[in-house]
Symmetry: C2
Subunit: 396 residues, 2 copies
């Protein structure tokens, strides 16, 4: 039996508002709140750059919203991850365990430390790192010494693990934390996609020592470009702010820097956008959840595909909805992608698994069958919060 591509595309098409044949983007932002007021205030006062009250306010709002002790706003999610890894002392020559199935930034941040990404398989239930498989693998290849965990095969220190909450769906953190503890690995959460997602009632980003958020234009809320580091350790918070602001030691006039620092500051004008967007996050999340439920209903009667739902221990932000091809139809993925795009529907596959990319093909990795399977079956559907708003109007 062949997969009915037309039917699948039509299911989305009749379901989403198709305004004058315009392209429906995968995830687009909406600025319906105080964005203009706040941005205008930046321009009127001349405070657009690194100093200015919106950066402080955005950081406070983020810490409060996520229930963490400290948030540090930075230029983007990649910079946030880089600083996270620096903060837990990942060094040149170390290995860092990252999922094979993630956006390339997760591995790039490791490379930017001079360290080596080491790829871990996913589990189908969460789309994230598989803690059980990781435990078995480490049992085989890892050796605990006084100064940390070492890879017996490469001789390198394994310093940290970076789970990523794929499309907003939380990794099974309790099980992963156990593995990290057993092997003395630092836990850094790549929460770039999971603002608004909870694991067992607690916001993602609270489980590792540090976590990274992204506010790129395609994320649940956006600052144009932006990111943040979250931590529950106030000392770590100070270190992160220091590293992200050229490691300048405060002084009335002297320019003295006590470490190699970074210029990872988020400009005030971007933080102003962030404040306005964060105010609207609860509404965005309601809309996105409702959109996800509608997709689930709409596809429940379509042969050969299903829509991914959050694991039972999680409340997900449903950042990007996942259409999952049945295993027997995985060979149809590319044709279906093309068919969607030809119909002006902004879909995409999941990222090429990182161990297949030229810069990472020689990095260590475990057996990656679950990630391979997911890669061949996932298609992301349009997921902008405002799609639901518009639909609600249709429904009346």
């Amino acid at each position: 039996m062949k997969l009915d591509l037309d039917k699948i595309v039509e299911t989305v098409k009749t379901y989403l508002p198709q305004k004058k044949e315009s392209f429906i983007g995968l995830h687009e932002p909406i600025f319906n709140g105080n964005e203009w007021t706040y941005v205008k205030e930046c321009l009127d006062t001349g405070w657009v750059s690194s100093a200015g009250k919106y950066v402080d306010r955005f950081e406070e709002m983020l810490a409060e919203y996520t229930g963490t002790k400290r948030a540090v706003a930075v230029v983007n999610g990649t910079a946030a991850l880089h600083i996270c890894l620096k903060a837990v002392d990942v060094r040149s020559g170390d290995e860092v365990l990252v999922p094979a199935l993630t956006f390339v930034a997760t591995a790039n941040a490791v490379s930017h430390c001079g360290a080596v990404p080491h790829f871990v398989d996913s589990e189908a239930k969460t789309l994230g790192m598989d803690p059980g498989k990781l435990a078995l693998y480490l049992q085989e290849i890892a050796e605990l010494k006084a100064d940390g965990c070492f890879n017996k095969l490469t001789g390198r220190r394994i310093k940290a693990v970076v789970p990523m909450h794929t499309f907003g769906h939380p990794v099974d953190m309790d099980r992963l934390l156990e593995v990290c503890e057993r092997y003395k690995l630092e836990l850094v959460e790549d929460a770039a996609e999971s603002l608004g997602s909870y694991y067992k009632g607690r916001h993602t980003g609270n489980f590792g020592k540090v976590a990274a958020l992204s506010f790129n234009g395609n994320k649940t809320i956006t600052t144009g470009g932006g990111g943040a580091v979250l931590t529950n350790d106030p000392e770590m918070g100070k270190l992160i702010k220091h590293l992200a602001t050229t490691a300048k030691v405060p002084h009335r006039w002297e320019y003295f820097h006590d470490r190699v620092g970074y210029n990872y500051r988020m400009p005030n004008i971007n933080a102003a956008l962030g404040c306005a967007q964060l105010e609207q996050l609860p509404r965005f999340l309601r809309q996105k959840r409702s959109l996800a439920e509608r997709y689930q209903r709409a596809f429940s009667s379509v042969e050969g595909v299903s829509v991914f739902t959050e694991p039972d221990f999680a409340r997900s932000n449903y950042w990007l909805n996942v259409l999952l091809l049945d295993e027997k139809y995985k060979g149809e993925r590319n044709r279906l992608l093309e068919h969607f795009l030809d119909n002006h529907i902004g879909v995409r596959p999941v990222w090429t698994l990182l161990h297949k990319l030229p810069p990472y093909q020689n990095c260590p990795c475990m057996e990656l069958s679950a990630a391979e399977m997911l890669e061949s079956r996932i298609i992301n559907l349009p997921s902008s919060a405002f799609l639901e708003m518009e639909l609600a109007e249709y429904d009346v």
Copy 2:
């Protein structure tokens, strides 16, 4: 004889508009042009992030204004420098010659490549790298081999030279280019401070293989935070854009990255600011030049200090005006700084010489007497373009 601190502060005070005892900043931006219009358009269309026409437009405007073949907008000047060094193939373990007298970002960008900054002395005439002294020094310590220039003392390859146009005043590029050619060194210009500055009639940033600009909030024009790479080599331009945008290979839907890339994209909303600011640059430059001339006149009759003027081969943007203490008064610098600040006048010393900072104190360096002397004598005066506009009103 003691330096008359009061007289110096009064000279600035009576000269600058002192509105209701408010603090006069060192360099503040002004948004009198199309900033609102362009930023609002970003918000109204939803194009605030990496895609959007203002990034392209800003890049085109920058290339045209500077007379270079290609400009690539990035998140800030530090990122611009980092990408420049990557683009000329600076590798981990290389040495890069940088001035001791510069903002810490010049050396940090070298460190971010895993390379080692090697500090060079300044010349009093330009405040920038001294090509003559560098030539003599390299004669002593450098060895040319088939695969490049090597430091005989450390054994490391010396890959590049990064002159910095201090406060907008161009380095003597012809003499420096000669040294670079002789020793097969790549020339990367740190033009972070010199947008609008010309060396022998040609805009700075045209002399090295690549150059970095900054649009930080304290610069001649600002994008909140931002920077750009300039190059006259179209292939290099493509490489830089590729490196700055996660090295993603263009494809209708596939996520494939062929190198370790960076997320150094300037968001569209910041580029919108940049377009509006760049439109006003000619006016800002006229105002800043006029302000510099007034400072020069005002201090010509004050004992113990002088105001730095552009070298004869240059037309400088006068980004930050320099009050130069006579050599015999260099011990008074800190007292004078405090006195200015106590009087609500935003001044600052030059940066602590980089070879004195903890992260760089063990790096190689030549004898640095000119930089030491300049460090002890320089005080930057308030230099915002709008100070002149307001003054002009006073004058009528």
